[in-house]
């Protein structure tokens, strides 16, 4: 098990990570997502020992890592550029870690040949990295990282240099290669679909702070705060500034959304941010309308429609605010038409407008805060 306890890192005197705590069990896949500059790569480099900790503790299977040089930590890292040696063949690249640690060349090659089969590298063993495609390079780097059977596997944006079609396949390959090992896997990415699909648990990092760490479904459905809510999901979550009236009714400007709210957040007079995923806005006549028991109805004008294959994204304007909704591709919509939009309030998220924190205690947020 890989344990990070209040890890802080500063680069050139500038703080980059602030007290990040998380645990990755053996065989578990934890993905940390965040926009560029959030400190994702630094987090991995700190675990690998390539940058020093300013504060906090790092343990791997109970062993303190903080004072160990990178080579003695028993972690493997797959770099964004893959870091393949251009002058070595695929086979020698695979063997590098083993021979560098003093294993005999023949033994290392035998092990590399055995491992190469998992990701179909056997026909490529004599080639040089520049003779490989992007996907092949990615598989070589992944195989090399796992060949040493490390206790922890760190992956830095492993799919960012692949095209979209290859990514889907490469994701499956990462899962497959990792499943054969018992390494604690920590992957960082800026790509949310990659994060959602690869993670047993998903963390969101923003400005060096881990905002939430929970199974992807939970992070999506119950984001810990407005940043997480807006970072995950495409299009981003719709947010409306609303207020609870003195009579307990929910008001959005001069529109009354509901007579009474069934959630505990509704103290009279309180201002709230209402968060709704695009699939929680139902268009009239849509088969995707699940019929929420606490639906509120507002009037909105269709601004534009983006067909996206299996769905269409409908951009609407309601009282000057832009909203995104999802609908099945067969639904006929005319731009400029005003229509009644149903908001699924019972599945909505609620946030404090001042702090941005979620108001319903979100499950799974506990560990990030602990």
């Amino acid at each position: 098990m890989l344990e990070l306890d209040q890890v802080s890192v500063a680069l050139d005197g500038r703080p980059v990570l602030h007290g990040v705590s998380l645990r990755v069990a053996a065989g578990e896949r934890v993905v940390i997502a965040g926009p560029s500059g959030s400190g994702k790569s630094t987090l991995l480099r700190a675990v690998a020992g390539l940058v020093p900790l300013a504060a906090g503790r790092l343990r791997l299977d109970g062993r303190e890592l903080g004072s160990l040089p990178p080579g003695q930590r028993d972690v493997a890292m797959m770099f964004q550029s893959y870091a393949l040696f251009p002058h070595l063949s695929v086979l020698d690249n695979l063997c590098f870690g083993l021979t560098a640690r003093g294993m005999a060349r023949e033994d290392a090659q035998e092990r590399a040949r055995a491992a190469a089969g998992t990701l179909d590298l056997t026909p490529l063993l004599q080639r040089r990295p520049r003779e490989l495609s992007g996907g092949e390079r990615q598989r070589v780097a992944l195989t090399r990282a796992l060949l040493r059977e490390p206790k922890a596997l760190l992956l830095d944006e492993p799919l960012s240099s692949l095209d979209t079609q290859l990514r889907v396949r490469a994701r499956a390959e990462i899962v497959k290669a990792h499943a054969a090992s018992r390494a604690a896997m920590l992957l960082v990415t800026h790509d949310q679909s990659e994060a959602m699909s690869l993670a047993d648990r998903l963390g969101v990092l923003h400005e060096g702070r881990l905002l939430q760490l929970a199974p992807p479904r939970t992070v999506y459905a119950e984001p810990a705060n407005l940043f997480v809510a807006r970072f995950l999901g495409h299009p981003a979550m719709n947010t409306l500034e609303v207020q609870v009236g003195l009579d307990g009714a929910l008001w959005w400007g001069s529109t009354r959304l509901a007579a009474r709210l069934a959630t505990a957040v509704a103290e009279p007079g309180r201002r709230l941010v209402l968060g709704l995923r695009p699939e929680q806005l139902a268009l009239p006549g849509s088969r995707w309308d699940s019929g929420d028991p606490q639906a509120a109805e507002i009037t909105a004008v269709v601004e534009s429609v983006e067909p996206a294959g299996e769905q269409q994204i409908v951009w609407l304007n309601a009282a000057g605010q832009r909203l995104a909704a999802r609908a099945e591709p067969e639904l006929r919509l005319v731009v400029g038409v005003s229509l009644p939009l149903r908001l699924a309030l019972s599945r909505a998220c609620w946030f404090d407008p001042d702090t941005g924190e979620a108001l319903r205690p979100a499950a799974g947020a506990g560990e990030a805060m602990a």
Binding site: P70, G71, M77, A83, F85, H87, G97, A100, R101
Partner: protein, 291 residues
């Protein structure tokens, strides 16, 4: 026409450089060519000599001595220069306190006028009052052999050639910076020792540049060794540091045998070409095997 245009498109930035090169190097070299086939002392009008000069070059024992001396000096100086430049480049490539100053120091001799540092070396090596003699006398070593023994004098010339490695250092620092940092990070994570990193990453990645520099340096060593050999050892002792360019210079400007000097220069040119050809052959072979 289209090929010419394509050529111009790819090379037009280098045209001023080529023009200067042609004017200052190509033209004089071409003018020296007919000189090699004539007798000329600078006083009387040149007389056509046919192949007499070239035939004399082959039969001249001093030419072969000079060629051997030049090769011996190069054999010492080229590997030593590369080794020292590589060491300095690996020490100085990282931005750290004082590195800029040290890099400038490594380059400084290369931008100092040759004559100035050659005279400086003459003082440094002086067996009576020079600092080297003084230092050696501290260890009880008699200071007078290095410029009186032919082989030792050649080694001194090779040592002096270490003075001018600024350009090599600059090129090697640039080449070292080209190696991606992530490869070094990977080595660290994989627990490779400093020696393994040097042997399996740094050296192979620098090898093409090192070989190219060796090629260039060997060709240039005929020229760069000229001034110290002329100023410091004056070709002696016993012709021990009579290098090819020194012999050419003496024939031309001391004995006023310009025709013969041109013929010698032509021979030197041929030897240089041969050296470059041999090295390029090995370089090609090596990089193809490595590729």
């Amino acid at each position: 026409m289209r090929r010419l245009r394509a050529l111009l498109r790819d090379w037009h930035w280098s045209l001023p450089g080529f023009a200067l090169l042609g004017l200052l190097v190509g033209l004089p070299a071409l003018m020296a060519l007919p000189l090699a086939f004539s007798h000329f002392d600078g006083l009387h009008a040149p007389r056509f000599a046919g192949l007499t000069n070239l035939a004399r070059v082959g039969a001249d024992p001093l030419f072969w001595t000079a060629l051997g001396n030049s090769l011996k000096v190069a054999l010492w100086s080229v590997p030593l220069r590369l080794l020292l430049a590589l060491g300095l480049a690996l020490l100085l490539h990282r931005p750290r306190r004082g590195a800029g100053l040290l890099r400038a120091a490594a380059l400084a001799p290369s931008v100092t006028p040759d004559i100035a540092w050659a005279l400086l070396w003459l003082w440094i090596l002086n067996p009576l009052y020079g600092p080297v003699a003084w230092l050696l006398s501290g260890f009880g070593i008699a200071p007078d052999i290095w410029l009186t023994d032919p082989a030792a004098a050649r080694r001194v010339l090779a040592l002096i050639s270490l003075w001018l490695i600024g350009e090599l250092v600059v090129v090697l620092i640039a080449a070292r910076k080209e190696i991606p940092q992530e490869l070094y990070d990977l080595c660290a994570v994989e627990g490779a020792s400093a020696w393994t990193v040097f042997r399996r990453l740094t050296l192979p990645m620098l090898m093409p540049v090192l070989l190219l520099l060796a090629c260039r340096d060997a060709a240039l060593s005929f020229q760069t060794s000229f001034l110290p050999a002329l100023i410091i050892t004056k070709g002696g002792p016993q012709y021990g540091t009579l290098l090819l360019p020194v012999y050419v210079y003496q024939n031309g400007f001391e004995y006023l045998r310009f025709g013969y000097a041109a013929a010698l220069a032509l021979a030197m040119f041929a030897v240089t070409l041969l050296m470059i050809a041999v090295q390029l052959f090995w370089l090609r072979r090596w990089t193809r095997r490595g590729a």
